[in-house]
């Protein structure tokens, strides 16, 4: 039982990161009908921003009191978010905007190309081996009823959930969110109603990429490393979450992200880590056979 609960907790932590990245795929698709395959690489850029900042500060970080380390931690999240948002906006302007209105494959291939370029660009600068990122938060374990987790793991879960609650508020509680949903329903009619679809596209790319950047920072800090190709596995898992959950509901993607994380953790705990990745793709196969639009529904693909 102890092992079971421990694995569920571990799964929720990693699953929350999947969900955050999956939401970015889903949000961008619903607004622009574009599959942004460079999205997980934006998370990777966020991770490297944490590496850069910490390596510059490396000497000064040592020996800081915990309260200041928490400030450094928050600063890293901010830098990751800004890095993500900036890369997202550049991507929107240079790659996604020119491919709007064309077949889905055009943007799919263009953004996948950008992803490859980013991975190899980072390799060229920092090398292909993972770089070390210090764990900013204390590494002692919190033990609650025999379940162990680190402050960093707790922070990852809290930050991911907070970002999703914030995004849900944005989409359902603000006027720009209303415009976002209107565009997701019928982009041309929304434009004729006076909505500047370009502004909404930029907001969407900025917000979802900022979230990916922050997720990249939390992943780098919990794994104490970043690598040029860390986006690949993350991206695949998140992609599966988006397909399985469907891109219509934030809650749906969150649920599937957490579920997938837990399923992987349980398989790793009880069977073998070798079978872990099979979980995501078997889940995807079964769900797409039965419900091609995902469990909770998707916005239609353009013809």
């Amino acid at each position: 039982m102890q092992l079971f609960i421990q694995q569920v907790v571990n799964g929720l932590i990693s699953g929350s990161s999947y969900a955050v990245v999956a939401l970015g795929y889903g949000l961008v698709f619903s607004v622009m009908r574009v599959m942004n395959m460079a999205h997980p690489d934006v998370a990777m850029l966020g991770a490297y921003s944490a590496y850069l900042v910490t390596s510059v500060l490396s000497v000064t970080i040592l020996g800081l009191p915990t309260s200041l380390l928490v400030l450094v931690f928050l600063g890293l999240l901010l830098v990751g978010g800004i890095t993500g948002a900036a890369s997202g906006l550049i991507l929107e302007r240079l790659v996604i905007r020119p491919s709007l209105g064309k077949a889905v494959l055009v943007s799919f291939i263009a953004t996948a190309g950008v992803g490859i370029a980013l991975e190899n660009g980072i390799t060229a600068i920092f090398g292909s081996l993972p770089v070390q990122v210090p764990s900013i938060l204390p590494t002692w374990a919190i033990v609650v009823a025999g379940i162990r987790f680190t402050p960093m793991e707790l922070a990852t879960l809290v930050i991911s959930l907070a970002m999703m609650v914030g995004l849900r508020y944005y989409v359902h509680g603000t006027k720009w969110g209303l415009a976002t949903r209107a565009i997701a329903d019928r982009s041309d009619v929304a434009a004729a109603c006076g909505v500047n679809t370009r502004t909404v596209s930029m907001l969407t790319m900025g917000i979802s990429s900022a979230m990916a950047g922050v997720a990249g920072v939390t992943i780098a800090l919990s794994q104490t490393q970043a690598s040029p190709f860390m986006g690949l596995a993350l991206g695949l898992k998140a992609f599966v979450c988006m397909l399985v959950g469907g891109n219509r509901h934030i809650e749906g993607i969150l649920a599937i992200g957490l579920f997938l994380g837990v399923a992987e953790a349980l398989i790793s705990g009880y069977l073998s880590t070798d079978y872990r990745d099979a979980a995501a793709f078997s889940l995807m196969l079964v769900v797409l056979l039965v419900r091609p639009n995902g469990l909770f529904g998707s916005y239609p693909t353009p013809a």
């Binding site: 006027k175 415009a179 949903r181 209107a182 041309d188 434009a191 004729a192 109603c193 006076g194 500047n196």
Partner: protein, 248 residues
């Protein structure tokens, strides 16, 4: 007779379409359309499926890029080349063919999007009251998803959403499509009420009998060309119009 342009006093002219040509690939949807709107009238464009009515309306809204021609709005200039949200801000609103409400949004949210450039809640509320006074059915459905409304209700919502921007020109693309005759009659009464409030209406229709009842001026569109135009009362008497649109 099609060669003669419509004569409107310059002070009364609101919208002037000149030499409008639109192609989809090798298909020429509009072949040099000339059309004029007088302030505060209902002008209808009659034509069969594929005559180019929707293309004309979509071009005015900036949804379709014409190859040639101009669309002049009085006091503004050419609308061609401007994006739809800008054309909306200049006082043109559109109720699309097939209604196309935002299905996952509630009726109220649909109306709010219709007034998107307005941020002041009191103004939005005021306009919403005016729309629901015109279409009381929408009031009862306010918090329902628009996709769950009946066809007639969705059409009312599409028109109401367009009115939320307080347009000077209202474009109605086949509002009667797929609606029961009684519902169409009710809807056209409201179109007349909208006109009385000072809004100029350009309406594409196939339902000539009902549309002629509220029309001031009529353009006949065939294969992307204006083949005839005139005051509604005259057009109704023409034998070709009776044969083609009024069943002899």
């Amino acid at each position: 007779m099609t060669g003669l342009p419509r004569r409107i006093k310059p002070a009364d002219a609101l919208l002037r379409v000149t030499g409008l040509e639109v192609s989809y690939g090798s298909v020429r949807a509009l072949r040099g359309i000339d059309l004029q709107l007088r302030r505060s009238e209902v002008c209808i464009v009659l034509g069969a499926n594929g005559a180019g009515k929707s293309t004309l309306i979509r071009s005015v809204m900036g949804m379709t890029k014409p190859a040639l021609g101009s669309i002049e709005l009085a006091g503004v200039g050419d609308l061609v080349g401007r994006p739809p949200h800008e054309i909306n801000a200049l006082g043109v609103a559109w109720s699309p063919e097939g209604r196309l409400v935002f299905p996952t949004l509630t009726v109220e949210e649909n109306l709010v999007v219709g007034a998107f450039p307005v941020w002041k809640k009191s103004i939005i509320r005021e306009r919403m009251d005016r729309v629901t006074a015109l279409f009381p059915r929408l009031q009862e459905r306010m918090s329902q998803a628009a996709g769950s409304l009946s066809g007639g209700e969705q059409q009312m919502l599409a028109v109401g959403r367009a009115l939320m921007s307080e347009p000077t020109v209202l474009l109605l693309d086949e509002p009667s499509l797929g609606l029961a005759p009684l519902v169409v009659s009710l809807l056209f009464d409201q179109v007349q009420a909208i006109k009385s409030a000072g809004v100029t209406i350009l309406m594409a229709e196939q339902n000539a009998r009902q549309a002629l009842r509220i029309a001031d001026y009529v353009y006949l569109l065939t294969n992307g060309e204006v083949v005839a135009h005139g005051e509604a009362a005259e057009m109704e008497q023409r034998s070709d119009v009776q044969e083609a649109y009024l069943g002899g």
